[in-house]
């Protein structure tokens, strides 16, 4: 088996019986065992269960029972509940929590035949852009072990980049799929809000949380999306609408280009993005200058809203029913306080405090209400832009992968990592980051944003781009 394998390739190999699911699964488990000590991308592997499922898949394949992802092993970000397995959100708070049920997307992927290799590392409760807040320790970027993989889905991105998992699930609240995808040189995709069910995904900020994928190719992202998505009666925000099916292949598209977003980038990053734009232009797509006037206030509004929601979403961790319970504390208030003090890390506490503050009497209007107004304006900016363009091009990140601990003392600098991705979550739009080159040996991502339910055009353009480039097939030198 080759080092780099897309899901589509693996499926081809399985369907033509060139390789068995058992062999594939064993191979990836072996790679994790052999090399993941460098990256720390997996926090748990389910070797036995995975191999058992692989044997079953092989039987199904030989019986001709073909499902879209039959026999293909994938990793799940530790934010998704997998029945009978620890689901910790990489927090001490949930150290001992064993999920009693499967998340809807876990179930959907399993029904499509996928095999679960294990759980991938992440920032604690998905709060972070560097994967340094995990209680399992930081993940290292396979392209440079001194660098972070991005976050919060850092484990998933690193695992795909290091070819120790062909694909992983992720979650994206403000860029948590696209930023690590950009840092690790893989394809990170999240659909329109409501298309992938949130049921069983441990909540950070409900109105912004999007389940999605980290894959080698855009084709793989589409393959996974088709199996993951669908209306879920257990999630009230799940959409009953479906993503528009591919129209008569719209090859030439109008691409919105907010040039102000590109102008402040360092040259090393601007150059590959410029190259990518040219390639798309040469394909007959039209580049149209657009303006997103409220872009600059998005990060501030995002942190108000996401922290507000998080402060309530994380109130359930009180040490009473599950999770960490402090050994000290003789009253409920004491027990609750101690458990939360011991169970949550610093970044999580910072966000709970921020959220509690912005929701409190006397501050609510100045922060929460105002942030919601900004959110509406941002959404309107996009809707206006999509009246004249099919898709929007944008940088994915303002920098390439930075060094571990580089932002230890500057949490708000870290928050700015999300400046290009956050507005997309505020509007609930589908978007992806795809590799488009390198800057000083580190991957650079191009972000493509679609209108609501416009996944098919997004996939079309991404597939086109990847048919003309091979950035997505590159492998870090650490692997050889």
């Amino acid at each position: 088996m080759e080092t780099v394998q897309s899901l589509v390739q693996l499926r081809e190999l399985l369907e033509t019986r060139q390789i068995s699911s058992y062999e594939i699964t064993s191979e990836y488990l072996a790679r994790i065992r052999r090399t993941d000590c460098q990256f720390n991308s997996f926090v748990a592997t389910y070797d036995e269960a995975a191999l058992r499922s692989a044997q079953l898949a092989d039987k199904h394949i030989s019986d001709g029972l073909l499902k879209p992802l039959i026999g293909i092993p994938i990793g799940h970000k530790d934010v998704f509940c997998v029945k009978g397995e620890k689901t910790t959100c990489c927090s001490s708070m949930l150290d001992s929590f064993v999920a009693p049920y499967d998340a809807t997307i876990v179930e959907n992927l399993q029904n499509a035949g996928a095999i679960c290799l294990g759980k991938t590392n992440m920032d604690e409760f998905a709060m972070g852009s560097s994967n340094e807040t995990s209680k399992f320790g930081p993940v290292r970027n396979p392209w440079n072990l001194d660098r972070v993989p991005g976050g919060s889905s850092g484990g998933s991105a690193a695992a795909v980049a290091a070819c120790i998992a062909p694909a992983c699930t992720g979650s994206d609240t403000g860029g948590s799929i696209r930023q690590p995808a950009s840092f690790c040189g893989v394809t990170g995709f999240k659909p329109t809000y409501g298309l992938n069910s949130r049921f069983g995904m441990i909540a950070f900020a409900s109105s912004l949380d999007h389940p999605g994928t980290l894959t080698r190719t855009v084709e793989d992202a589409r393959l996974m999306f088709n199996s993951m998505s669908g209306h879920d009666t257990q999630d009230s925000t799940s959409s009953t609408l479906k993503s528009a099916s591919t129209k008569s292949k719209q090859k030439q598209m109008k691409l919105g280009y907010p040039s102000s977003l590109f102008s402040d980038l360092p040259n090393s990053i601007a150059r590959p993005l410029e190259e990518a734009r040219k390639i798309l232009e040469e394909q007959g797509n039209t580049i149209i200058e657009i303006d997103l006037p409220h872009f600059n206030v998005a990060v501030a509004a995002y942190y108000v809203i996401s922290c507000a929601e998080a402060s309530a979403n994380l109130a359930r961790y009180d040490g009473i029913r599950y999770g960490l319970r402090s050994k000290q504390g003789s009253t409920f208030d004491e027990l609750c306080e101690r458990s939360r003090s011991e169970g949550f890390g610093q970044e999580v506490k910072r966000r709970i405090l921020t959220g509690t503050f912005v929701l409190s009497v006397g501050h609510y209007d100045a922060y929460y209400v105002k942030a919601q107004k900004i959110r509406r304006l941002i959404r309107d900016d996009y809707l206006r832009a999509f009246e004249s363009v099919d898709l929007i091009l944008s940088p994915a990140t303002p920098t390439t992968a930075f060094r571990l601990h580089a932002m230890d003392r500057e949490p708000t600098e870290m928050y700015k990592q999300d400046q290009f991705t956050v507005p997309v979550n505020m509007a609930g739009l589908p978007a992806m980051s795809i590799p488009c080159g390198f800057a000083d040996g580190l991957p650079v991502g191009l972000q493509i944003i679609g209108p609501h339910f416009g996944e098919s055009n997004l996939f079309e353009l991404g597939v086109d781009f990847q048919s003309l480039t091979d950035w997505h097939l590159q492998c870090p030198a650490t692997l050889s």
Binding site: F80, C81, T87, C89, L94, F97, A99, P100, Y101, A103, R198, F199, G200, M201, I202, A203, A205, S206, S207, T233, Q234, D235, S236, T237, A308, E309, S311, A312, L314, A315, R316, D318, I320, R321, Y322, F332, D333, C336, T356, L359, S360, V361, Y364, Y368
Partner: protein, 481 residues
């Protein structure tokens, strides 16, 4: 309280109505509370990470039904907020409730005392919210046990305007809301099990003044009588404080049933900050006019309407109409009898008299009453037509209740057993006439009412066995000669 006439109490109520839905407000576990702790609480109720709330439409529909019944505006979009506080029996660390857009807006309730409308009470709003679990402090030593069976059961919180001015009005208002929600079938009305819980906000002010006095809130009273007593105690306490030039503290108080007094529970000087914000897990639900229309069409006739119909078309007096409509089962029973016989006032007398005493004697509700309204209707049709006397009808009623059997058979038996022999009746009539010379004189002067009296006397003497129809004919014949 010698000077109490100088003071005017001002009272508003907040009543938690537990809706009798199949499942909980935001989860699929059963809403009827299971006696074994923590057996009717599922993953959502336990706030297991990753779980999400899904609104129970049945609860929404029942809230809408209440809104229609009090003539309130129904919010075209139904939104929910999170109300945050930490408590061991509140699994999510917040309660899902409604703040900005309650499903039921302003409405009103006509307050009746003895059938007369005393005043119209404004209903400020009614909103949906989930109940918390229970903390049990007294079962185990040193530890508190948590039962989450009740967590997530649907409540409709009804808030009245401060339009009530006495403890009896407060109790009447609670009672009437109880009648209404049980009538509509949206609440089982079981006060002992906490299906309705009342908080009362009480203040007093000098008669003729506008400004409200400092108010106290009495929490969690669950009977009509206790509401009346708790509110009265609080009115008296506040008046006596004010008359001694002391101030009423803004505070929350508890009513102690044993000692019949209210006690301070906590002050209100530090108002809690619940950090309300719209629940992002629940999208606003559109409430269409079509839905409101179809719910109002599916609703039973309201008690106020029936009351009006009883006084206007059936000529019942208002007090009787009020008693008949105190609960829907009684009113339905009454109406079912009226389908068999026309004499509404006779039926009303029987339902509120004979039927009611049997129910009281056996401590049962009318739903459990063994005599069908159709059977009782047949008995009363015989009374109405004069075929059977009231006393004999009572015998039939008692016999059917105690020994069973068909009403028709028992009626036939008593009809056969009765004195219908003309000579025997004539003899009885003559005896009665002989002992009532005054009445005989009045009758001959054309006062026909006396005939009824004479028949009554004859019935009494014959222990109800005489045939009243024939008796009447004989009396007329004997006195007209």
């Amino acid at each position: 309280m010698s000077c109490s006439s100088h003071w005017e109490p001002v009272i508003g109520l907040e009543i938690h109505v537990q809706l009798n839905t199949e499942s909980k407000l935001f989860s699929t576990s059963p809403a009827s509370v299971h006696p074994v702790p923590n057996t009717s609480a599922n993953l959502v109720d336990l706030a297991i990470p990753g779980t999400l709330p899904v609104l129970n439409k049945e609860a929404l529909n029942k809230a809408i039904m209440f809104g229609v019944a009090i003539g309130a505006s129904i919010s075209p979009t139904c939104r929910f907020e999170r109300k945050s506080y930490f408590y061991p029996d509140l699994p999510k660390g917040y309660q899902i409730t409604q703040l900005a857009n309650p499903i039921v807006g302003k409405g009103s309730l006509d307050l009746h005392v003895d059938g007369d409308t005393v005043k119209t009470i404004g209903i400020t709003r009614a909103h949906l919210e989930e109940d918390a679990g229970k903390s049990i402090h007294d079962r185990y030593e040193k530890v508190t046990a948590i039962d989450l069976n009740r967590a997530g059961t649907p409540l409709l919180e009804v808030v009245t305007e401060p339009d009530l001015n006495s403890s009896s009005e407060a109790a009447a208002c609670f009672r009437q809301l109880h009648t209404l929600v049980t009538w509509l079938g949206i609440c089982d009305g079981n006060l002992n099990e906490g299906s309705m819980r009342c908080d009362a906000n009480v203040s007093v002010r000098r008669h003729g003044t506008q400004a409200l006095g400092n108010r106290t809130e009495i929490k969690n009273v669950n009977s009509f009588r206790f509401v009346e007593r708790a509110v009265q105690y609080e009115i008296d306490r506040q008046i006596s404080l004010l008359e001694q030039n002391e101030t009423v503290e803004r505070e929350t108080r508890l009513y102690d049933v044993e000692r019949d007094e209210t006690r301070r529970m906590r002050g209100k000087e530090f108002s809690d900050d619940y950090r309300y914000f719209p629940d992002p897990d629940l999208l606003p639900v559109e409430v269409s006019q079509d839905l409101v229309r179809s719910i109002s069409q599916s609703m039973p006739e309201l008690p106020s309407n029936r009351r009006k119909r009883y006084t206007t078309y059936l000529n019942l007096n208002p007090a009787v109409a009020a008693l008949l409509t105190r609960d829907r089962a009684t009113s339905d029973y009454f109406e079912a009898i009226c389908k068999v016989t026309n004499n509404a006032s006779l039926v009303a007398n029987w339902v509120l008299g004979n039927v009611s005493s049997v129910l009281n004697r056996d401590a049962i509700t009318i739903e459990k009453f063994s005599l069908s309204p159709e059977s009782l209707g047949v008995i009363l049709r015989h009374v109405d037509s004069g075929e059977v006397s009231d006393a004999l009808a009572k015998q039939v009623f008692d016999q059917v209740l105690s020994q069973g059997g068909s009403v028709h058979d028992v009626l036939d038996q008593v009809k056969q057993a009765r004195i219908s022999d003309n000579s025997e009746l004539r003899e009885l009539a003559q005896t009665i006439l002989a002992s009532h010379p005054d009445q005989v004189k009045q009758l001959s002067e054309g006062k026909s009412k006396v005939l009824g009296f004479l028949i009554g006397q004859a019935m009494k003497t014959s222990h109800g066995k005489a045939d009243p129809k024939k008796l009447s004919e004989i009396f007329i014949e004997l006195t007209s000669t």
